[in-house]
Symmetry: C2
Subunit: 230 residues, 2 copies
């Protein structure tokens, strides 16, 4: 297979490269500025490899989301222990805990497969479609978890100790029902974006990848020209 | 654009063609047999246009599914009326009624766009991606409806008038929780199949469509050869 420039960006160790470039410029080269000084130049090597950074941002954001969902789990387990309610009895809890389990597995597999510099290219290329598919599945799992969780909370709370039953649709119930619809609408929008072929990252080495790379190169040259001439 | 044989199969009126061919052979040509008689031949024109039939089977099965879900809705509305429970208060009912609404719209749009012989080709080609995307969205909606509905039913029934609470996980609760997990697993499997690029129907007029058509033509020739030589 042809070693296109796009493929070179994604070779093992590329994330380490980015961290080294940033550290080098921060620690030895005086940091960054946008004032035509020497510090202005320091953006150059950093931005040229910044494409790699998005993988780190993605992994970091997913890690924060995973930590928050673990915290969310501990909130319900601790509450259950406090008032003596058994854990993991409802179908909401079964689907929910499966979601968090899949999410954790996805994150660990992603870390090992994509971020560790030592993982061989064949692992990366065979993990990629699985990772993309699992991401969509986790989103579907979490939609089902959210809707069933909202329904469970309103049924247990409003029918238990509230002045108005859920079926009388107090303002809280209407508000939270709308929240449920918003969550489904969000999920459907994400899938809408994912299914647009034009917005999908082209496969490495494909004709589309080459065209996309050339287009990005032309944009980079255009931006450089503007910066140089102003 | 080139008028490939595949495109010809999908031109307006193709479904009518199929119905006419079947009617002609049933009514005037004596029906069908597989006994080397004249009736044996009658399969020939029917099978050659049978590709069209799958659209009718799909539409018919979806119509039955839609009728069954309407019947399912009337079951809950009638029950509510019988014991004086308000309709459409829970987030389950909101997501569920949206699912049936989207499903009905999808079916009517599909009927008008794909099955009516008079619908122009530009409507068919612009409706196709919307139809495929809406189908996936309706599946996600119905998964969220099923899980929240199962959770609601078990909470209301077991916590209301049953000997064992939902949280005590009687056999019924475990069984129905597993049903919920099975439904999610089914949905995830369907999406797994849909995301396999190799199994996707190639776009009309694309290189893949031509290859696929040639491959099917070769298969048809091979089957004919076997039939003729035996």
């Amino acid at each position: 297979r042809v070693q296109t420039p796009l493929r070179r960006w994604k070779c093992p160790g590329s994330q380490t490269t980015f961290l080294f470039v940033v550290t080098w410029n921060l620690h030895w080269r005086g940091g960054f500025a946008w004032d035509r000084s020497l510090l202005h130049f320091n953006w150059h090597p950093v931005l040229m490899v910044s494409g790699l950074f998005f993988k780190l941002v993605h992994a970091g954001m997913m890690f924060v989301a995973l930590l928050l969902s673990m915290l969310g789990l501990s909130a319900v387990f601790d509450f259950h222990q406090g008032v003596n309610i058994p854990n993991l009895y409802s179908v909401h809890s079964w689907v929910g805990i499966s979601t968090v389990f899949l999410f954790s597995s996805q994150w660990i597999l992603g870390l090992v497969g994509f971020l560790l510099p030592c993982s061989p290219p064949w692992i990366r290329s065979s993990l990629k479609p699985v990772h993309i598919w699992m991401g969509k599945m986790i989103l579907i799992f979490s939609l089902a978890s959210c809707i069933s969780g909202i329904n469970e909370k309103l049924l247990l709370t409003l029918n238990g100790m509230s002045a108005a039953m859920y079926s009388e649709l107090p303002v809280e119930a209407v508000f939270v029902n709308f929240l449920g619809m918003l969550i489904v609408a969000f999920g459907v929008s994400v899938f809408g974006i994912l299914f647009v072929k034009k917005w999908q990252r082209p496969e490495d080495g494909s004709e589309n990848a080459r065209v996309s790379y050339q287009r990005r190169s032309r944009s980079a040259v255009a931006i450089c020209n503007i910066l140089v001439h102003n």
